[in-house]
């Protein structure tokens, strides 16, 4: 890891309706995440959703989590953006953007342990969907 690494943008394919967005770290890489952006559409189920951005092991053990502190109502579209040293506020006009902050030490790696980034909703309605998403991270290769 003595090299400078490189910054990349990643645009993961949206998951199936009702499923969280999961991005697996490429084998042999160390990532330091700087931004995550995504769009969430909720179905008619009434419960307010809380959105999480989580780092977890392949076995599903969450070891790091950002919880957005504004809930999303049913049948709405919200943009989410979490960034290192980023904005913490929630816009109120148009398609609302819910913003939060990543820690500087937002590390993920995969040296045989297949760590993952997950965008999740609690509760996750059967008709909820996570749409367009983008990640920016700096990576180093083994």
């Amino acid at each position: 890891m003595r090299e400078a690494g490189e910054t990349v943008n990643l645009f993961p394919t949206p998951p199936a309706v009702g499923a969280p967005q999961i991005v697996s770290v490429t084998d042999g890489e160390l990532w330091n995440l700087s931004t995550v952006y995504f769009v969430v559409n909720t179905d008619v189920a009434a419960a307010p959703r809380v959105c999480h951005v989580e780092f977890m092991t392949a076995a599903g053990l969450v070891y790091w989590r950002v919880v957005f502190n504004t809930t999303q109502a049913n049948t709405t579209t919200r943009h989410y953006c979490v960034g290192r040293r980023g904005n913490l506020q929630v816009s109120t006009q148009g398609t609302v953007t819910i913003q939060s902050r990543l820690p500087d030490a937002a590390w993920l790696f995969n040296f045989g342990n297949a760590e993952q980034l997950r965008v999740n909703l609690v509760p996750f309605g059967a008709g909820d969907s996570i749409g367009a998403a983008a990640l920016t991270y700096h990576r180093w290769r083994e």
Binding site: A4, T7, V8, F11, Q89, G94, Q99, L102, A134
Partner: protein, 148 residues
């Protein structure tokens, strides 16, 4: 899809300077494309938005997108800017966010993420509910720049 193979560029501190995007006509966003041979860290985006008379609650935002318009990150103000307001705005890393002053003369601060802008991406400054007569002016971008 991944992009970007300029990691070797970022081993030094880069060159810090100021760029002035093209002054757009009323009703048009500010856009600045990062050249294909450069990586930028955007430190500050500052300027003025002078609103027209159309009634609407504008909220300033700064976003990075691909050349095709896919959003990579977005930082949105939470303060309303109404008709005929003149807002001096500052987007910056680690900025205390607020809107101060007495309408129609106000100052708006918005935090942006600490990240790198890759070649061919587009930095856009706009406003939710921007109206046709709303006009951006005096926009400057302070950046750290690495060139291939």
């Amino acid at each position: 899809m991944a992009s970007g193979t300029f990691g070797y560029l970022t081993r030094d501190a880069g060159q810090i300077d100021l760029v002035t995007p093209t002054d757009p006509a009323a009703g048009v966003d500010v856009t600045q494309t990062i050249p294909a041979t450069e990586i930028w860290k955007v430190l500050v985006v500052a300027g003025t938005l002078t609103n027209g008379a159309a009634a609407a609650n504008r909220q300033l935002f700064c976003q990075l997108e691909t050349g095709a318009g896919t959003v990579i990150w977005r930082a949105v103000s939470t303060s309303n800017q109404v008709a005929n307001d003149v807002a001096v705005f500052t987007f910056a890393i680690y900025l205390a966010t607020a809107q101060i002053g007495t309408p129609p003369n106000i100052s708006t601060n918005v935090n942006i993420p600490d990240t790198l802008c890759l070649p061919t991406t587009v930095l856009r400054v706009s406003a939710v509910n921007r109206q046709a007569a709303d006009d951006f002016s005096n926009v400057t971008i302070t950046r750290a720049r690495w060139t291939a």
